[in-house]
Symmetry: C2
Subunit: 332 residues, 2 copies
């Protein structure tokens, strides 16, 4: 049996629920850690996958880990053979769907983490690979033109029309418009999860078909590459978090090499955001925030006037990582 952690707490709980806690041994569950490990290489945002790109890497929670974050950090580092700059908890899932998938053994809890790193060529074990995250979310890349993938607009309309009653139809239409920036609204790059969930509900991604959700377009579009279980949803959560984070905390730096040009930096931010930025304003922001300093060297010619190389200012970064900063600027 389980020793009581805090007797006072237990009795209070008895007050609250009229049942002794000890009989209610908090459900024995199994726990795994799932990582969304991100790098940006050559202007492409990439995520580490296993199983031919159909799963995110995951590992069991083990008792020797000091904490969940330490556990994630340690097994990801062992697998990729280089240190993670940044690790942040994303979300904890424990739906009964998962439970069913486990054959009724017990509830499975998945604790997901976002981690940032730089891609290193040869360090991966077999089966693991870096994938362009837009393979999974083609509708999220607006760097070349803001057009949605072809079947989407019509499919969204069909979904909205399939609402049970006029109010539901209106609500669906509005929801699609907000999520996808339709009807004159502007695209909000942070709504990654909302968009994926909408597409799932509308039956427009393979996972929905797998889970028996209907689609009102024929042939049913199957947008983006699918993943097992709910890994694509977790990836969407990670992308959304990262897109939000770069606007107020200087996390891009975790993804950059030691020295880089301002355009390199801009391309990386654009890769993550899926949107182009106004070059001069981007520079103004970066310099005004004093996040970088010149190395004194110039970049090897890249087809135009040579650019200065910069590095991060460790002192400022530390401060900003702690207290936040100001956002960059969207634009086409």
């Amino acid at each position: 049996m389980r020793a009581m952690a805090a007797p006072g707490l237990a009795s209070a709980r008895r007050h609250l629920r009229n049942k002794p806690m000890i009989e209610n041994r908090p459900g024995s569950v199994s726990a795994e850690l799932i990582a969304v490990l991100v790098a940006v290489t050559a202007g492409t945002p990439r995520v580490l996958t296993i199983a031919e790109g159909t799963s995110l890497p995951s590992g069991p929670l083990s008792p020797e880990h000091r904490s969940l974050q330490a556990g994630t950090r340690s097994w990801v580092e062992r697998q990729t053979h280089h240190p993670l700059g940044y690790v942040e908890q994303l979300y904890t899932f424990a739906d009964n769907d998962r439970n069913a998938a486990l054959g009724g053994f017990g509830r499975a809890i998945s604790i997901s983490y976002l981690a940032l790193t730089r891609e290193q060529p040869k360090t991966l074990d077999g089966g693991a690979s870096w994938r362009n995250w837009y393979d999974y979310f083609p509708w999220e890349d607006h760097r070349q033109g803001a057009d949605l993938p072809a079947p989407l607009p019509a499919a969204l309309r069909a979904w909205a029309q399939a609402g049970a009653n006029p109010a539901a139809r209106r609500a669906r239409k509005q929801r699609a418009a907000i999520a996808f920036g339709l009807e004159g609204r502007r695209w909000n790059e942070e709504l990654v999860l909302q968009r994926y969930e909408l597409l799932y509900e509308a039956g427009l991604v393979s996972e929905a078909a797998r889970d028996g959700i209907a689609c009102h377009t024929t042939p049913a579009p199957r947008l983006g590459h699918a993943m097992r279980q709910d890994h694509r949803r977790i990836l969407a959560t990670g992308i959304a978090r990262l897109r939000a984070k770069i606007t107020y905390r200087p996390v891009v730096f975790e993804l950059m090499p030691p020295s880089f040009t301002l355009l390199d930096l801009q391309r990386s931010v654009e890769a993550l955001a899926g949107q182009l930025l106004h070059k001069q304003n981007f520079r103004r922001l970066v310099e005004q925030q004093a996040l970088v300093e010149e190395t004194g060297q110039m970049a090897g010619a890249t087809g135009g006037r040579p650019a200065k190389l910069f590095r991060f200012r460790a002192d400022i970064l530390q401060e900003r990582a702690y207290a936040g900063t100001k956002p960059p600027l969207p634009r086409a």
Copy 2:
């Protein structure tokens, strides 16, 4: 029993594909749900506690719950006898400290949630009570003057001076300055967790003494009321999240009665933020965002010119809850 500690990617993949998951039962753990349940009553932000205010309410994760969030919602609703407007996951903890405290039964995972509601007088079971959250964080309330509690400034200096070497001392000094808005910096009301963690490390809260952390001030200040385990840290996480959230999402409304004056609304936001707002600007913002509409009625006299009563616009709220909004305005 438990499977491997940190599988290589290849084996992780096997784990996911080739073997039935059931054999690889990732570490068996016990899971509990902890709630930070917040209400604002008469200009005071309150949190629901049990055990004489020393614990947050918590309940075991139970198999009948459809999801973690549904589980939290259902047991909190059963205890408080009224529906939660808003529930959001905060953080998942599983430190080995907890493990030890549980007598080695196995790792305990705590999944914490933030929930918003309105306080209702008579619905609590014995042992539970609403507490002013500033009882736990007196340094967080800047509504009357921006002065920190008396022993704080000197204690922070002492902590900084106790750094092992000049670099450490400088880093500590800067960290304290950022967290507490010293040396001409401005107070950032969202750094609730950072401040609590700093005070813990500096030995200035009772939990630190309990956990054997030294303090460099005598007599050691014991700022704010203590809580069991790491509940005060969880509460700090909840407050920080809520303070951040109100600046870009209209969650205050979950805390308000059906109709209210603009000053009521402002007082509630101020209670959460721990800072006073500029009245005219607050109104400008609220009205410009079209979050509320007049009910046509006036408030019962409160000592001055009668104020119009407002209610929320459900349509707008829904949209903003989904896509976000603009921030309000700090000021003294």
